[in-house]
């Protein structure tokens, strides 16, 4: 049960949030300009890093804002969170 620091609401239990799967890749500004392989890469291939990562979380049962969380995927240590980051 992670304790997540929502930038707007403060420390809340993990079950108030939804993890943003496949969320840190930027959607191509003009999808028609990328090849099928590049599009499939954007859709389906995501890093699964061991160690410190930046990932999106949604405070679904709270302020309903998306934010970026700085977390170590091995130890679950959370280094911080920031709001208002776009793709």
């Amino acid at each position: 049960m992670l304790l997540i620091p929502c930038p707007h609401c403060g420390l809340r239990n993990e079950d108030e949030f939804v993890y943003g799967v496949a969320s840190t890749k930027k959607r191509p500004a003009d999808p028609s300009a990328v090849s099928d392989a590049e599009w499939a890469d954007f859709l389906y291939f995501h890093d699964n890093s061991k160690g410190r990562v930046r990932e999106r979380w949604w405070h679904a049962r709270g302020c309903q804002q998306w934010f970026m969380l700085d977390r170590d995927t091995l130890t679950h240590r959370i280094f911080g969170a920031d709001a208002g980051e776009s793709a």
Binding site: M1, L2, L3, E14, V18, G20, S23, R27, D30, P31, S32, V34, D36, W39, A40, L43, R56, W58, A60, Q64, Q65, W66, T75, H76, I78, G84, S86, A87
Partner: protein, 979 residues
Amino acid sequence: MTQGFRLDGGGAIDRHRPLTFSFNGRSLRGYAGDTLASALLANGVRVVARSFKFHRPRGIMSAGVEETNALVQLTGALDEPNALSTRLALSEGLCADSVNCWPSVDFDFGAINERLWRLFPAGFYYKTFMRPAWLWPVYERVLRQFAGFGRAPKSASDDCYEKRFHHCDVLVVGAGPAGLAAALAAGRSGARVTLVDDQSHPGGDLHNAAAEIDGRPALAWAADAAAAFDRLPGAVRLAESTAAGYYDHNFLTVFQRNPEQPWLRERIWKVRAKQVVVAAGAIEQPLVFADNDRPGIMLAAAARTYVHRYAVRPGTRAVVVTNNTSAYAAAADLARAGIAVAAIVDTRAAPAAAAGGIEVLAGHAIVGVKGVKQVRAVVVAPRAGGAEQQIACDLVCMSGGWNPVVHLLSQAGEQLRWDERHACFVPGPPVQAERAAGSANGAFALADCLREGFEAGAAAASAAGYSASSPPVPATPTTPALDLEPCWSMPPRRRGTRAFVDFQNDVTADDVGLALGEGYASVEHVKRYTTAGMGVDQGKTGNINIIGLMAERAGVAPPEVGTTTFRPPYTPIGFGAIAGIDQGPIIIPARVTPLTEWHESHGGILDEAGSNYRRPKCYVRRGESERDAIMREARAVRNGLGIYDGSPLGKIDLRGPDARALIDRLYTNSFTTLPIGRARYGLMLQEDGRLLDDGVVFRLGEHHYLLSTGSGVAENVYANVIWYLRTVWPDLRAYATLVTTQWANMCVCGPRARDLMRKVGTDFDLAPEAFKFFDFRHGKVGGYAARVARVTYTGELSFEVNVPARHGRAMWELLMKAGGEWDITPVGSETSNVLRIEKGFLLMRVEGDGMANPYDVGHGWVINEKKADFVGKRSLQRDRNVGDPRRELVGLLTDDPNFVPPDGSPIVEVGATGKKIMIGHVTAATYSPNVERAIALALLRGGHQRKGETVTIAAGAREARARVTEPIFIDPDGERMRS
């Protein structure tokens, strides 16, 4: 037998409160303060169980949670399997039975396994019961009888359980000397401290021997310390509570047995602590020698506990076998209690321990045990070789060292450290905000426990932001050093004997050798292959011996072997506690609409129907079956007048200068030309081109829209809108609010729908030319402010009336009353499904099955290819580029007009290899009262090209033929809904 093994004085039992209990049907007596195990020993009961695999007679081996043998089945008022007799407080009328034996523990047919023991080495089931494969059902029936120990209860429990969230500055686990010291030091700084202990009275190990602190009995110090702690502000002390799991960010679960409320059986505390101190103590380890599992062979500290704490003589003539000095104090206590200690068999060659007159056989080992249902004698011999001697005894006390209870710390993520001096694993560097103290930290002397406890408590409070100091340590007598020399196994005097390492799962030292010999080199593999450490005791007494044996055989040090992963819970916990009050209807709260009460009181059969809503399937009249009702309702809608509660439909209010731009990017079609007062059907796709929702977009104002979504996907669509607005296109000025529950929605549908609306009265023109299909109006209906839309899911002339939720019931009743002259028929969700299948309308998660794109389901007409981009467009292009055959939406008319294939039935044909392959499936099928035959929708590979062909549906045992048609069975041109 009247407690022939009870000592005349002493013990923490209350001799003024005798209790009667029953074991295997025999009535016995004990005292308040006994555990079931101590009372059994007091009555001279030696054989309490049969072992798991070999059905060897087993006795009580310990005095605590580490017990492996003495599990009992509780019957009567407490119906529970696998209760630990060493932890169970004796109560009046307690009924317990032995497990894993038949007909009785003393005479057990299962003992045949013991005769055939050579057929059952570790992992035997990987090599047996394979052939012939068709006999497996027979093998399974037989094997099931041998699985597990006790019996699960057959009836539901009346007991109440509860969950509670708790926050504190410092959580201290364990109220032994280290834990009490830590709790005091932390609490005195002003920190809010919670102290949990799994015993009923504080003191921990101080209960088990006569120690002294500051010249007083140690238990008196413990009682005073606990009382002083209780007086501190914010102090919470839980007794009979086990800290079972340590999770992320200092989140721990504590299971409190016997809470003060008499109606509660157990309560789970979910604790978030700023700092944690683990003072959970240490568990003694058995020694590995031939037949070390006989009744009467127990841990040395356990024997000491039974003598001191429970005033029980576990035997009359004892032999102590040990590799360290702590057992000498146990021997002295036994002697003082009148038990003859025949010898101390010390595996160390030259121990420097004071034996107080007891004979010490240094450098010796036990090479054999005599006695099956009760130990009669041990056979000892010098380890270096030499003559054997037999020593008669009825009690053997073994001490192989001590293991700090590091489980919680390991769960917290700590890497354990090997302590060479004590041959055990101790806590390593802290990973979370935690620390260990006392014997849990590898400090076995009382003075060290107290000192470490004070220091750890002060450190925890300081880390939590309080100013704390560690008080001076009270005086205690010196504890002799352990001086341990590891002895991982003692070779037997003759072959064909077994030395047990995991008593509960009957794993022997030879099994460990077998696993290593078969190539399982990792400790995790050895654990799984032999099942060692996989019992109810989770290897509390077995794991270290296995690691030591593996290290010895591999010629490495134990830390190189490593430990298996520690997993919560520390001790078994009941499902009742985990569930708490989340049972029955509480666990999935049912959402209701303003009309649910009306449905319930008018024959509505409520059922789970998407997004947790409970909706009426249909409304049953007297004498009707559900099927009759559904057919009646479906006919009424097409021939007369129906009314349907559509309140669960998702509604998203979208405003802002860029609202239309967002809608254009999310839906497949264009909304640029949508005028105010009109609605448009649209498809919302996922980025991968798959259908997310088919809904209706209403334009309410210049920059004001309402998105109507399917009721089952409302939350998903909302999440999708938020995702794009907040992370992909945050520059768009648009604001979305989920307003599903703010509106009551009822759809008046059927040829008589306009008649009803006229009768009820509206302040807008209802004529077909004035109020067209997909128009909507704000105005008054029957005097109530409403939004009315001409949208439909039934395919009939429909007016969807939306009023604020608080007027929902009144509006519905008004419509019902006025509609009486046309026999207005309330329509349930099952009926709605029949009607939509007749029309071939999509249902998300059925035809929109996560793989279908709009072209597959014949909805290419909703896509505006001229739009530069919309979510899903690029993937539709990729689908075309890939060019694989796709499953496409078709209708099916079964040859047998009354046969309705079950939803999901595969459509099959014989493939190139000659075997049947699946080429599609039935998505939804029903009997249609309006077409008067069975109809179905299906996704069929290449379906668009196969209209008119016949296919085969595999419907369970039956195969049915069906003709492929257009996926629409009523009014293909949609004249009715446009009327």
